[in-house]
């Protein structure tokens, strides 16, 4: 019920924005126009959305796994952290256009290069948030583990990691929210399908309403992924009830 109200609210806000600012249709089409296209071209749109959703999901899973692994490695070894952390930060500064040719060279034009690109965007919030969480464990627990002669590995996996799950959840939620743009950026590497591809192509042809119909689907995918991630991650930390919601 509530999501419906929100959706209607968003649409009204959009309509109002288009109306109040007098933006021309070919720059920001009103939702009514977009809705018509959404219905007319539904088959095409769904097909492309499925493609992008697959990239997003694969990218998110890969990003989460990669991010979590790196964060754990960084927490385990100062040596690794010293060498690889700058690399990780740098990886965020590199625009897709600079590495697209490299990715294509190594991974080809198939889905692999897109998923890699999406994962590159997605993994960073996870590394960063989880690593922060791992270095913020209650020192009392660490002392306890030390007196119990726990090997560093066990401390990391059995104390720091569960204690950092809320931080991981935080990072995963950010990751889920940027997953759509990750997938679309991936499609820049060179694509022949996907919502991002459809959007660029229709923008180039002046079919702005179709582009915005694709954008609406992309946003819906984003919202769905975000809320799914939110739902899952909240269940990860049952011992900590969040206020609000």
């Amino acid at each position: 019920m509530r999501p419906l109200i929100t959706a209607v609210g968003l649409l009204l806000a959009w309509e109002a924005l288009a109306w109040a600012t007098g933006v021309p249709v070919y720059i920001l089409p009103p939702p009514t126009r977009v809705a018509v296209v959404l219905v007319q071209r539904f088959d095409l749109l769904i097909e492309q959305a499925a493609w992008t959703a697959a990239e997003m999901m694969l990218g998110l899973v890969l990003g989460l796994v990669l991010g979590a692994t790196l964060a754990v490695v960084f927490a385990a070894s100062a040596g690794w952290r010293r060498w690889a952390l700058p690399l990780v930060i740098i990886s965020q500064a590199i625009p897709v256009i600079a590495i697209a040719p490299l990715l294509v060279l190594w991974l080809g034009y198939g889905m692999a290069s897109k998923v890699a690109m999406a994962a590159l965007v997605i993994f960073f919030p996870v590394v960063s948030a989880l690593y922060d969480g791992l270095s913020r464990t209650d020192p009392g627990w660490l002392d306890l583990a030390q007196t119990m002669d726990a090997p560093p590995r066990a401390v990391l996996l059995q104390i720091k990691l569960p204690a950092a799950l809320p931080a991981f959840a935080s990072g995963a939620r950010i990751a889920a929210a940027v997953a759509p743009i990750g997938a679309v950026i991936g499609e820049w590497v060179g694509a022949s399908a996907g919502l991002g591809f459809l959007m660029t192509q229709s923008l180039a042809r002046g079919q702005t309403p179709l582009a915005f119909a694709a954008l609406v689907l992309l946003c819906l995918l984003g919202l769905a992924l975000y809320h799914a991630t939110d739902w899952v991650t909240r269940r990860l930390v049952p011992w900590q009830s969040l206020q609000g919601e």
């Binding site: 070919y26 720059i27 697209a100 040719p101 294509v104 034009y109 060179g190 022949s192 923008l203 042809r205």
Partner: protein, 292 residues
Amino acid sequence: AQEKVRLLLDWFVNPDHAALVVAKQRGIFIRHGLDVELIAPADPNAPPKLVAAGQADYAVSYQPTLQMLVAENLPLVRVGVLVAQPLNSLVVLEDGPVKTLADFKGRKIGYSIAGFDEALLGAMLESAGLTLKDVTLINVNFALTTALMSKQVDGVIGAFRNFELNDLALNKARGRIWLVEQNGVPTYDELILVAKRETVDVARTKKLLAAIAEATTWLKANPAEAWEIFSKSGKDLDTELNRLAWKDTLPLLADDPLALDRARYETFAAFLVKRGLIKQAPAIDTYLRDVK
């Protein structure tokens, strides 16, 4: 007083814009009473839309783009021309497996995002008895030459004849080229100037085009001096690729930017309809403005 004019280029400054840059640098625009600001976008699709939205007075665009945008009801009109012939072409590596158009059967062809390359390619392949289904199409975005040289694709459509061949040469590769207009595609104006239909100022446009014509004449007569002016006009223009492209581009620049060949637009509109890029050809006079 000078009239302020905002002119959006289609992309980063390159020798295609020679006349505009020279007209600005040599004060030709000023002499015609115009204070022109040249703005380079990163996305070639945005300029016509921004002109339609009133965010700039003129934009450099392409004939096929104009016709597709007008078919989508963008209030644009063509007011002049910078390059009155196609630049687009299909390119392969000379030592690659493709020697004739027919050899493309089962091969991979890269194209950029422009939106109509696919249609051009379809027509070209049909002229050799193939269809789009016989090849795999890959959108390679910016990286036409890179995709070609790294052999990720066997050919690329959307390559500009004055640029990509030189780019290949600079990277010690040789290309084989098929010109679109000789292989089943009607000829068209590659670079045109567009303005907003309702607000186009014919008097000002005349001044602008006169200045461009004057600059074109001058630079064709003084290519070396013009190169000096062009290469120093902005950051990082003095490059080997630009130098090579300069030579190939100058002869292609339209001597008469006011020229208008209506038939060319009728024919090409029919071609776009046939290729399914637009549903219906818009009435010619809605988007062609003869300022002569």
